[in-house]
């Protein structure tokens, strides 16, 4: 039985130590906001935060989660995240939506560490989060808008 700290709470999980955290989160803990996209850490749909840093949960093993703080989209409450959500809604970024919980997780992490990101900063931070609907134009605009909202 492993014990991890998830969204501020300590939880016990009965799963093999090498289980990808994605399946721990989705199948064992029933938090389905984090999505399965590719399984090889190349699409970003499964983005979570590990000690505040965006990580791909499909390639992050349960045994590596001890001693760190994990958070999923369900645990995001700060103003950076709320402003990102608001900007996303305002600009109607989302199409099919499947990648978007990963996108907003990565975007909020960017804004927390870099309150005034440039286009290049956004490209660098979000380049691993694929959106097949091609909403990148609005994603970029929404990150800027969220940054503005943080200042307001």
């Amino acid at each position: 039985m492993a014990s991890i700290k998830l969204n501020g709470q300590r939880v016990s999980v009965d799963a093999a130590p090498d289980t990808p955290l994605l399946w721990v989160i989705r199948d064992h803990l029933n938090l389905t906001g984090t999505k399965f996209g590719c399984g090889v850490a190349s699409c970003g749909a499964c983005t979570i935060l590990v000690d505040g840093e965006p990580m791909r949960s499909c390639q992050f093993r349960l045994e590596d989660a001890e001693g760190v703080e994990i958070s999923t989209i369900e645990g995001q409450e700060d103003s950076a995240f709320k402003n990102v959500q608001a900007a996303w809604r305002e600009l109607d970024v989302v199409q099919c939506g499947y990648c978007q919980s990963g996108q907003v997780m990565a975007a909020a992490a960017l804004i927390r560490s870099n309150p005034k990101p440039t286009d290049e900063d956004i490209d660098e931070a979000l380049n691993g989060n694929l959106c097949r609907c091609g909403t990148y134009q609005r994603i970029r605009a929404a990150v800027h808008l969220a940054a503005e909202k943080m200042e307001a």
């Binding site: 996209g37 109607d92 694929l130 097949r132 091609g134 990148y136 609005r138």
Partner: protein, 772 residues
């Protein structure tokens, strides 16, 4: 009586309204099939695939698979009580192989176990022996042995051969256009739950619930009414969830009925890419005659495509390539030949544009080549060849172009984007830049709207109003992110003049609306919007009849406006009237139906009116290439696109942005590679490169054409928007051709295939240098 504006309700048509699920998507609370709470005792399914491209299975020993831990059932072709076929119409897509395998990835058996790990582990215990046969993997190999899925087709107008011989100038060329994987972020998935009497309910991520229903019933050997298909939303479709989901729904249903347990089948990404079809790759060649101004005087076009192992939708897809071989240009004397090759690769299928992009990019390439030969700006050659108005307006398939706005859009965009000035600046830049070269191009799009299979152009809807005035909306269209549900809800809100928040959007299900067509061919809002409007109007007419009688008022004095109903001088809330209508025993539920008028097509002669109307747009792209590495970048793109009188501009512009980016991926970075054994080597995002956020143009300006209005009586005079913008990306490819041409001082023909990957650009540069 006051006359408040009709647009006072929230969610009126022609107004921006954000996607109905936008707030859920950014909270992670929008539910996809894999997110649905798993039912008790659910089994997980894994599909075992052929490891040979073309072979006879000589032995398949599954005894160890059956005996493995956790296994509930193992399914092969022998376990199918009905028909072993999940094809859309041709009858050549077995659910499981009966011995013959024709591509690497073809399902040979499936295992349902208590866990996915157990299912996968069990499948590995199978002993399968193959007797290999010769395989033909690509267009060239299939062409050499004349292996086809159907006869070659000819579409012609005038006398191409004669006109070519009489032409003042003549030019030949050919190029190859690669395929494309859908890479929907949510892979193929089905969750089947057994019902009583051997019936089954399936959550299926599909654009075509009715076909999935039909095929599941067919496999189970049951009538259609034994099967219910439901889908609330897909995590992307793009055409890849039109025919293929039936396979996964049928396998999971078969297991569910046999075991009487729910069964989930969720494909792994790699398996999805190996097992499911893609956009057809094409070989395109032309022989064009033209005068000294660049006017095309005759042309023969030959297209060949890789259809894969079965028919699937390839006939219609290749037909659509022929329908778009003209794009916006009048071809007085033209012959278009189309060859549809069968190969021992996965069966290719629908993908946004449905063959149109492959046909359209060919003629754009012809124009570029002609322009270079005569030393003119390709824009001038394009303008010269555009369809006329009232003359020079017949397509190769005999349909008149009656809504042509291409010239106006091209002229406007050339001006707003400063195309000509920038073209001069780019030439000056290139003259002074040794290794980095820029290119620019402006290309138009004309895309025909309607399913070219006429009977598919029908749709149904179901609308209820509850006594409290809240509305339940259902229709046959499916939501894959394109905003269809939002748009149709706007149509209903507008008709009843109530806030769109009072209209409940509900999951598509075959139990509510039967016999629907796929949400495809960009037709979603055209068809389902009209069907929902029909349903709403029927209920509204009953409400008016009721109010007229109750309040002794002429019907034409009753109006619905801004959440209220005005009955002469009496004003009441919408929900007051519905409450009264309930008590007055009025039916407030209705189906609605729509069929597209005017269309008729004779496939034998390839003549008729396959399309109700056309969509238009144009794009200007400026690119830069590094001639030492082949690396390339889109610097700026300007788009002017028309969506008629847009039902929802913010959603339509989103479709334009996304379609363009996806088209850009097809033409630049997305490369499918099969090895000599027939194995797909690009089966994950690590090897198959879809555009990332850094790939979008540094500057992307998109405008909806504000004069847009459909000349046909479509839903509120809007136009379809799903597919047409995909082909705006042709401007990117032509700009890359222009940049490469600069290396030979714009005098040497550019040999460059799509996708224009860095390797391809580098080879094209080297080729031009060699011949310069």
């Amino acid at each position: 009586m006051s006359n408040p504006s009709l647009s006072e309700i929230k969610g009126a048509v022609h107004k921006d309204l954000r996607h109905d699920s936008a707030h859920k998507h950014v909270a992670g609370t929008a539910v996809y099939i894999d997110d649905v709470a798993e039912p008790k005792n659910m089994l997980h399914m894994y599909v075992a695939m052929s490891e040979k491209a073309h072979a006879e299975i000589t032995e398949m020993d599954l005894s160890a698979v059956r005996a493995a831990q956790g296994v509930a059932v193992v399914l092969t072709a022998d376990d199918i009580p009905g028909h072993n076929d999940v094809s859309p119409f041709a009858g050549d897509d077995p659910l499981f192989s009966t011995g013959l395998v024709e591509y690497i990835g073809q399902p040979i058996f499936a295992v349902a176990a208590n866990s996915l790990e157990e299912a996968i582990a069990a499948a590995k215990l199978a002993k399968v022996s193959y007797d290999e046969k010769p395989h033909y993997l690509n267009i060239d190999e299939a062409e050499a042995v004349d292996l086809k899925i159907e006869d070659s087709q000819l579409m012609a107008q005038g006398e191409a051969e004669k006109a070519l011989s009489a032409s003042k100038n003549r030019l030949q060329g050919s190029f190859y256009i690669g395929g494309q994987d859908h890479f929907y972020l949510e892979g193929q998935i089905a969750l089947a739950t057994p019902q009583e009497d051997g019936d089954v309910h399936v959550l299926s991520s599909t654009q075509h619930p009715s076909e999935v229903q039909h095929l599941v019933a067919h496999v189970l050997g049951r009538p259609t009414n034994a099967v219910t298909i439901e889908v609330r939303r897909m995590g992307g479709g793009f055409g890849g969830k039109e025919t293929h989901p039936a396979m996964f729904a049928a396998m999971s249903s078969l297991a569910a009925v046999k075991t009487q347990r729910p069964v989930k089948l969720r494909l792994d990404r790699d398996d999805d890419m190996v097992m499911t079809g893609k956009r057809h790759d094409f070989k395109y060649s032309y022989d064009v005659g033209y005068d000294d101004d660049g006017q095309i005087t005759g042309i023969e076009i030959e297209m060949a495509s890789r259809c894969g192992r079965s028919t699937d939708l390839s006939p219609a897809i290749n037909d659509r390539a022929m329908f778009h071989a003209d794009n916006c240009y009048f071809l007085s004397d033209v012959a278009i030949k189309s060859h549809r090759y069968k190969t021992h690769t996965v069966s290719n299928t629908a993908f946004r544009g449905f063959g149109g992009p492959q046909g359209m990019i060919g003629i754009e390439r012809v124009i570029e080549d002609v322009a270079r030969e005569i030393g003119k700006d390709p824009l001038d050659v394009r303008m010269l060849n555009l369809y006329g108005e009232g003359e020079r307006d017949t397509t190769p398939y005999g349909m008149k172009v009656e809504d042509n706005v291409a010239a106006e859009i091209m002229e406007t965009l050339a001006e707003t984007s400063e195309y000509r000035k920038r073209r001069d600046e780019i030439r000056a830049f290139n003259a002074n830049s040794k290794y980095l070269k820029k290119g620019i191009s402006i290309t138009p799009v004309k895309f025909g709207i309607s399913f070219t299979t006429t009977h598919l152009n029908q749709a149904g809807a179901l609308v209820h109003i509850y006594a409290d005035g809240s509305v339940h909306l259902n229709h046959g269209g499916t939501e894959m992110g394109q905003g269809l549900f939002t748009k149709v809800a706007q149509v209903v809100a507008e008709e009843f003049q109530i806030d769109v928040t009072r209209v409940k959007i509900t999951a598509t299900t075959t139990a509510k609306v039967p016999n629907t067509s796929a949400t495809a061919a960009s037709s979603g809002s055209d068809l389902n919007g009209m069907a929902a409007l029909d349903a709403a109007r029927k209920i509204k007419a009953r409400l008016i009849d009721f109010a007229a009688e109750k309040y002794s008022c002429p019907k034409d004095r009753i109006t619905f406006r801004n959440n209220k109903v005005y009955i002469e001088n009496k004003e009441m809330a919408f929900n007051e009237l519905t409450q009264e209508a309930y008590l007055g025993r009025v039916s407030m539920s209705s189906t609605g139906f729509y069929k597209t008028p005017k269309i008729k097509y004779d496939r034998a002669s390839h003549k008729g009116r396959p399309f109700y109307y056309f969509c238009y747009g144009a794009a200007v792209s400026e690119v830069m290439i590094d001639t030492l590495t082949g690396e390339n970048k889109v610097l700026r793109t300007d788009i002017l696109h028309e969506a008629g009188r847009s039902l929802n501009p913010v959603i339509d512009i989103g479709q334009i942005e996304g379609g363009f980016i996806q088209g850009m991926g097809w033409l630049t970075t997305e490369e499918l590679v099969f090895d000599d054994a027939g194995r797909l080597r690009t089966h994950a995002p690590s090897t198959y490169k879809v555009p990332a956020c850094s790939d979008r143009p540094d500057e992307l300006n998109i405008e909806l054409w504000n004069k847009g209005r459909n000349v046909e009586a479509t839903i509120h005079r809007s136009k379809a928007v799903g597919e047409p913008p995909f082909m705006l990306a042709n401007a990117v490819f032509m700009a890359l051709v222009d940049a490469v041409a600069s290396v030979g001082d714009y005098k040497v023909p550019v040999k460059m295939d799509a996708p224009a990957t860095p390797e391809e650009v580098l080879m094209a540069v080297a080729d031009v240098k060699k011949r310069a």
